[in-house]
């Protein structure tokens, strides 16, 4: 990329993407609860209201189903709405509009419309907000044809994937992990896009492949660092897109490393790890596997409030290290 690069936080990078889009495209509006003067529950929209005014940075009442539906209707009729859910858990109120309408409208109408709506979902645990404010539900969306689903993990990708989503004619769901909002990283200035549907190798390694999503990417990288000291070289793939899954990228890596571990925060059963495991087992990488595929995911429980339980409910670095060590050294 040619643009100069600065350090921004993940939240700032998202805001910058929205500002670029608002600036260059009159059709872009941002909608959601308390995204105006409050700046959003996680301060992602921040000062956009001051720069673009209340006609484009639209505070909605607390009406997730109606709000999402309005965004869908606006998308079909010429706007490019970005709809922010205050917490991804509240998507449970809007699945009708997302799944029955946005995802299917083009198909049901035989191709006569597109639905270029972007929805943003602050997701995940780790903030002590308990079971109704900590869910990771991206697998539900990944199960729905007609949707695209991304999970950026770096500030650079958060910006690039949002700009890509805005250029995409179809509904794109963006899962943002709350713990990432304050993390910082290099972000190119100006407009660029990060391709939807492409995974990214964050660290090269020869001994074992880890596919991780969301906040688990940085935990996997930490684990990889620890293991490097033991001489185990872990390849870390940031999945980035949950639908469509970049199966070729994973296959290619597994063919080199012969071992695969998938780490995500969502509940393990029927999480994205299940799909990846099944796909790799069906792929040409299968014959290269020297050990069964390992999945690490959230415990089979709602997220608890108590901080120790909360941590125990999702993969943490020591558990990832142990699992990878076992996998790489043939103990599993």
């Amino acid at each position: 990329m040619d643009q100069p690069v600065r350090e921004l936080s993940y939240a700032e990078a998202i805001r910058e993407a929205m500002a670029i889009a608002l600036e260059r495209d009159e059709r872009v509006v941002v909608m959601g609860e308390d995204i105006g003067v409050y700046g959003g529950a996680f301060q992602v929209t921040g000062d956009l209201i001051e720069r673009f005014g209340p006609d484009r940075i639209i505070d909605t009442p607390i009406s997730e189903l109606g709000g999402a539906g309005i965004a869908v209707g606006a998308a079909v009729t010429g706007l490019r709405p970005i709809f922010e859910f205050q917490f991804s858990d509240f998507a449970t109120l809007a699945m009708e509009q997302i799944v029955n309408q946005a995802a299917k409208m083009r198909f049901m109408l035989g191709g006569s419309v597109s639905v270029p709506v972007v929805m943003r979902f602050p997701a995940g645990s780790g903030t002590g907000a308990a079971a109704q404010h900590s869910q990771s539900l991206e697998a539900w969306f990944g199960h729905v044809p007609g949707l695209k689903v991304v999970q950026p993990t770096t500030p650079e990708d958060a910006k690039g994937l949002l700009l890509a989503a805005l250029e995409d004619p179809d509904p794109v769901m963006i899962f943002e992990h709350k713990l990432l909002y304050k993390t910082r990283g290099p972000v190119p200035e100006g407009a660029y896009t990060t391709p939807i549907g492409k995974a990214e190798i964050r660290r090269k390694g020869r001994d074992v492949t880890v596919v991780a999503t969301g906040v688990m990417v940085s935990r996997a990288l930490e684990a990889a660092n620890e293991l490097a000291a033991e001489g185990i070289e872990v390849e870390v793939i940031d999945l980035r897109t949950v639908r469509p899954i970049d199966t070729p990228a994973i296959v290619e890596s597994v063919i080199r490393t012969h071992r695969l571990c998938i780490v995500h925060e969502a509940v393990k059963t029927l999480g994205i790890g299940a799909e990846i495991s099944a796909r790799i087992a069906e792929s040409e990488a299968f014959d290269y596997l020297d050990a069964p595929i390992v999945r690490l995911g959230g415990a089979e429980t709602p997220i608890p409030y108590n901080p120790d339980l909360e941590k125990a409910a999702v993969p943490q670095v020591p558990g990832i290290v142990a699992a990878l060590r076992d996998l790489a050294t043939g103990r599993r």
């Binding site: 009406s63 709405p81 109408l109 044809p145």
Partner: protein, 348 residues
């Protein structure tokens, strides 16, 4: 109104001091009125044709017929410009035809053909014709309400002067989507008209058993918007109330709610045994309050069409239906290789 018609109205007014004819006849020229009548007949004939095809096993799935409700679709349509938009419902054939859909492409959709409005992918519950401003029927009760408000948001932001009409039923008014969408339309003063076709029942459940308020219209008060209850089988009254609400919307004065009282003659869908209403009730509406007969009487009374003229329209409608069915039958089915086409936008 055409120039000649306007002159005639003026003359009539001059003679009598005022024009006492119903709104429809004061407001519209004879050609427009004839066309509205023709659309009512076309809706009914289309649905009878579809029903017949269903009985003969030509149509898959189910369908929801609006026979008996033709005046509401057409009356609303009279108040709209071509580029105004509507969202429709599972009982949406009338809305489609009123907004300009061709019956041949509707039949083709029913028959699952590539020439149908949805290329055979959607069927009865998803007919749309975006080029005519029809954003589509909806299989989800209340599902179109927020979408209509979203379209109105677009209209306002894009400054294109469009008004959106949102059709829904008396049953739909108990969905949360109704509440959320009407509230937002009201606080943002969006150019949308909410038209509740109150046919007395949501499937088997009467309004009295499902809805706590005595009328749907009075719920408008909760959103500080005007709400009116109108005889939905009176084409003129429907057109008048809608035109008021549409101008309000177009002038930036915000949304309105119109409740159109009507009745569906057929069962809810093809599997209904009509156990929740009496034969007497159904007969009463069919014989005493048929919107088609009512407009026919007016057309004759106000000299727009005589019996021969009515017959001519009927014949031309029958012909269009027959040709439409033939077109649909002859049309090709989708290629099974295209199963996953249209899930995403091609080339994106």
């Amino acid at each position: 109104m055409g120039r000649e018609d306007k002159a005639m109205v003026k003359k009539a007014e001059a003679a009598t001091g005022a024009d006492n004819r119903p709104f429809l006849f004061r407001r519209h020229d004879a050609g427009t009125i004839r066309e509205a009548y023709r659309k009512m007949l076309l809706i009914r004939a289309f649905e009878e044709g579809a029903e017949n095809a269903y009985m003969r096993g030509l149509v898959h799935g189910t369908m929801h017929l609006s026979i008996g409700q033709e005046a509401s679709a057409v009356g609303v349509g009279l108040a709209l410009r071509d580029d105004d938009q509507i969202t429709s419902t599972h009982r949406g054939h009338g809305h489609s035809i009123a907004k300009g859909a061709e019956v041949k492409r509707m039949f083709a959709e029913f028959f699952g053909k590539e020439t149908g409005y949805c290329r055979g992918r959607g069927g009865s519950m998803h007919i749309a014709d975006v080029s005519k401003g029809n954003l589509g029927a909806n299989g989800i009760v209340g599902g179109g309400i927020p979408i209509a408000v979203g379209a109105a948001l677009s209209a306002r932001r894009l400054g294109n002067g469009k008004v959106v009409v949102c059709f829904f039923g008396d049953g739909a008014n108990n969905e949360g989507a109704f509440h959320e969408a009407l509230n937002m339309a009201a606080i943002w003063k969006l150019p949308v008209v909410f038209v509740c076709e109150n046919n007395g029942y949501g499937m088997s459940t009467s309004q009295a058993r499902a809805t706590a308020s005595a009328t749907i219209a009075e719920r408008a008060g909760a959103y500080a918007m005007p709400g009116r209850t109108i005889d939905g089988n009176d084409l003129s009254a429907v057109a008048e109330a809608t035109e008021d609400a549409v101008s309000r919307a177009r002038n930036g004065e915000g949304p309105s709610l119109i409740e159109l009282k009507t009745y569906r003659w057929r069962g809810h869908s093809k599997s209904d045994r009509n156990r929740y209403r009496t034969k007497e009730e159904i007969d009463h509406w069919m014989t005493e309050n048929d919107p088609v007969k009512r407009i026919e009487a007016d057309l004759v009374a106000f000299g727009i069409l005589d019996e021969a003229g009515l017959d001519a329209v009927r014949a031309s409608v029958a012909e269009e239906i027959e040709a439409g069915i033939a077109f649909a039958k002859e049309s090709p089915s989708p290629d099974p290789a295209d199963l996953e086409r249209f899930v995403y936008t091609e080339g994106a």
